[in-house]
């Protein structure tokens, strides 16, 4: 057992280099190159990276495409925002309201008392637990209902998407309880510490980065362990894994819950750094955008997902600042390009074109053992299906995929 654990913990030199480069980018290059405003923006992008890493686990490794990750991001964010809002709404700060001591939007909507389910969010400990527990609980319920009945693929995507729609409509409709379309705004302090100052924003950026790395290491551990192997096997040949005696539904539920937990943490960090939470981050469009971040970075690579998130968001900000008309066209074209030509995203490009060059260069320099042999190299390669994703599964398998509209379990 212990040997297996340490086996999963052992890093190859290429992996160490990959993590070190990302750490350098996140903790050195960005903070040194950007002013506080831009750094805060980069921190906001990195909160989406939590979701993208979760999607690598669910979608890339597990083959479960969820179009409702925004729901979990939003739930995490709202749990944090509720705590911060209650702290900001002291009776002294809200004495001009007709009912002092409740959040301002409740007062505007003629509520006279705090709803009972807001009460526990007075406690920071409860809120921090809820940031992870609420998304995981919802994911667990969804997983229990769907995976036990062997609903997967396209059906799962549609159902999770409708959940995103439901939550958005609910949050907007119940504005007395949730702040409606504006969301929960005007968040000020965390246990008396002002989160709006430049210094606080920089500290939060580093906290966010550290949490992201914790999630990355956890995700890597999951993927490298036996669990990760079973996930990949399940994605490619679900029936064979089931016939081998594995409880496929349990594995799917676990990985879906893990993705939800990551998204929840990301949402909470978003609230802390940006200072509000609103339903625009929960709905269908942001949920699909998060899938795009993951796909651009490479759906099989956790590090690629982080780069993909940073790159797409940077492009979004730059384009929508200077050419707002072109942004949607550019995003659409980028996405079609990724899906059609580079199904493994940036990580795939790196593994196919950059990595061999580096290896050749190192060999030319005479460094031995600096890079492992190509067979073992790169997490993306190990996780890729037997034939490349672009090649698709051939003949007989493809028929099944075409007829895959029926939700009944396979033959």
């Amino acid at each position: 057992m212990l040997a297996r654990m340490t086996g999963a913990l052992r890093f190859s030199p290429a992996e160490i280099a990959g993590f070190a480069i990302l750490a350098a980018v996140v903790f050195l290059v960005l903070p040194l190159a950007l002013d506080t405003f831009r750094l805060n923006l980069a921190g906001k992008y990195l909160t989406y990276a939590f979701v993208a890493v979760g999607l690598v686990l669910c979608w890339g490794a597990g083959g479960i495409l969820s179009l409702g990750q925004g729901v979990f991001f939003g739930l995490g964010g709202y749990c944090m925002a509720m705590f911060l809002k209650l702290e900001a709404s002291t009776p002294a700060a809200t004495r001009i309201q007709s009912t002092p001591g409740i959040p301002d939007f409740m007062d505007w909507n003629q509520l006279t008392a705090l709803p009972w389910w807001w009460e526990p969010f007075h406690s920071l400990a409860f809120s921090l637990v809820a940031v992870v527990a609420v998304p995981v609980a919802l994911a667990w319920i969804i997983g229990l209902a769907m995976f036990r009945r062997r609903v997967g693929g396209v059906y799962f995507a549609i159902i999770t998407q409708s959940l995103a729609a439901i939550l958005t409509i609910l949050v907007i409709g119940q504005q007395g309880f949730t702040g409606g379309v504006n969301g929960i705004t005007d968040l000020r302090t965390l246990l008396g510490w002002d989160i709006r100052t430049d210094a606080a924003k920089e500290i939060l950026y580093f906290v966010n980065g550290a949490l992201l790395f914790a999630c990355l290491l956890l995700a890597r551990f999951i993927l490298k362990s036996k669990l990760g192997r079973v996930l990949v096997a399940m994605r490619d040949q679900e029936d064979r894994v089931r016939f081998s005696g594995y409880d496929v539904a349990q594995f799917k539920m676990f990985i879906f819950c893990a993705g939800a937990a990551f998204a929840g943490v990301g949402g909470a960090m978003f609230t802390l750094q940006v200072g509000f939470m609103s339903p625009t981050l929960v709905g269908i469009v942001p949920s699909i955008e998060m899938v795009i971040f993951c796909a651009v970075g490479g759906r099989l690579s956790i590090l690629g997902a982080v780069y993909g998130t940073l790159l797409v968001n940077w492009a979004k900000t730059t384009f929508s600042e200077s050419f707002p008309e072109l942004w949607l066209l550019g995003l659409g074209a980028l996405f079609i390009g990724v899906v059609m030509a580079f199904p493994n995203g940036l990580a795939g490009l790196y593994a196919d074109h950059v990595e061999p060059r580096i290896r050749a260069l190192l060999a030319w320099l005479g460094v031995r053992g600096a890079m492992p042999a190509p067979v073992a190299g790169g997490a993306a390669r190990e996780m890729a299906p037997a034939r490349s994703v672009a090649g698709g599964r051939q003949s007989g398998r493809s028929l099944q995929a075409r007829g895959g509209a029926s939700p009944e379990p396979g033959p």
Partner: protein, 307 residues
């Protein structure tokens, strides 16, 4: 609800029921196209709403064209533009199938993402061409107003037109799928692609035509939609979730199931809308549908397949 007399309550129920019927017609029109594409081909077309909006914009253009140049025929422009909408959306659908979808048949989840990218691009194109503001068409005089049935119950004429169109399109799709050569070929391919190709069916062309017809039906839905609401570049995205749920809830491969689920979802929503706020009615309906789908993933009318 106790403040109403019995006859008033009856009239309210009838009116809400009729509003539900109009919603039902729109759902049926939207879902039929998707049922063809998703049910028969297994392709997730996230751009379905945008194909619908294309039909709506075609109707808007035709309305301006007839208003400006052919005022004599203005009363009939709606029917002509419905046909145009079918061909415009169908042609775009065939192009998208040729350019994108045919490369992705083996990766259903990727089709979903690629067609979502198509929907983004189309939205931006609509915004650039027609402007970000919603546009409405001029409804011919004879379609305005309503028919009084009793003292309390009135039936809007444009709603009747939408219902008539939904009925006609449903009949047309049924005839196409179950009584035409194309329909036979589509069903043959769905059952066994290799054998269908072996007996001489041009599967590639049939796929393309199927996608085109599905998108064309979406265009007609959009055209009908202009009669009861205005059209904006992002309007399509509002309906895509409803439409998918209608199709999945009905059982993907069953046309009858699609109609039945459109009926139950629309009636549930419009009756609840009277007693609750609009958003809560929608949330409850969607939650109900999702819960039922979790318990019965094959939908209302599952087609029995021998596996």
């Amino acid at each position: 609800m106790f403040a109403y007399s019995l006859s008033e309550l009856g009239a309210i129920l009838a009116m809400q029921g009729f509003a539900g019927l109009i919603l039902f017609s729109v759902f049926v029109l939207m879902a039929l196209g998707l049922a063809i594409i998703f049910g028969q081909m297994g392709v997730i077309n996230m751009a379905h709403g945008e194909f619908m909006i294309l039909g709506a914009y075609v109707t808007y253009l035709m309305s301006n064209l007839f208003g400006g140049f052919l005022p004599a025929l203005f009363g009939a422009y709606f029917f002509i533009s419905t046909v145009f909408a079918f061909f415009a959306s169908g042609a775009l659908g065939i192009f998208v199938e040729w350019a994108l979808i045919r490369h992705l048949y083996r990766r259903p989840l990727d089709t979903l993402l690629a067609t979502w990218a198509v929907s983004l691009i189309l939205q931006q194109v609509y915004r650039s061409v027609f402007g970000a503001r919603e546009v409405g068409v001029t409804i011919p005089d004879w379609m305005m107003g309503s028919l009084p049935v009793t003292d309390l119950i009135e039936v809007p004429i444009n709603g009747l037109c939408v219902m008539a169109l939904a009925l006609a399109v449903s009949l047309g799709v049924w005839l196409l799928l179950f009584r035409s050569t194309w329909g036979r070929q589509v069903r043959a391919i769905k059952q066994n692609r290799v054998m269908a190709a072996a007996v001489g069916i041009n599967t590639e062309w049939t796929d393309r035509l199927t996608f085109g017809i599905g998108c064309g039906v979406a265009g007609m839905a959009g055209s009908a939609f202009t009669m009861i609401g205005s059209t904006g570049p992002t309007a399509g995205q509002l309906y895509i979730v409803d439409t998918f749920l209608v199709v999945v809830f009905g059982g993907a491969a069953s046309l009858l199931g699609t109609v039945a689920s459109a009926l139950s979802i629309s009636q549930a929503q419009s009756i609840m809308e009277f007693f609750l706020s609009g958003s809560m009615a929608k949330v409850l309906t969607l939650l109900l549908v999702v819960t039922i789908l979790m318990l019965r993933p094959q939908g209302l009318f599952a087609v029995r397949l021998r596996k």
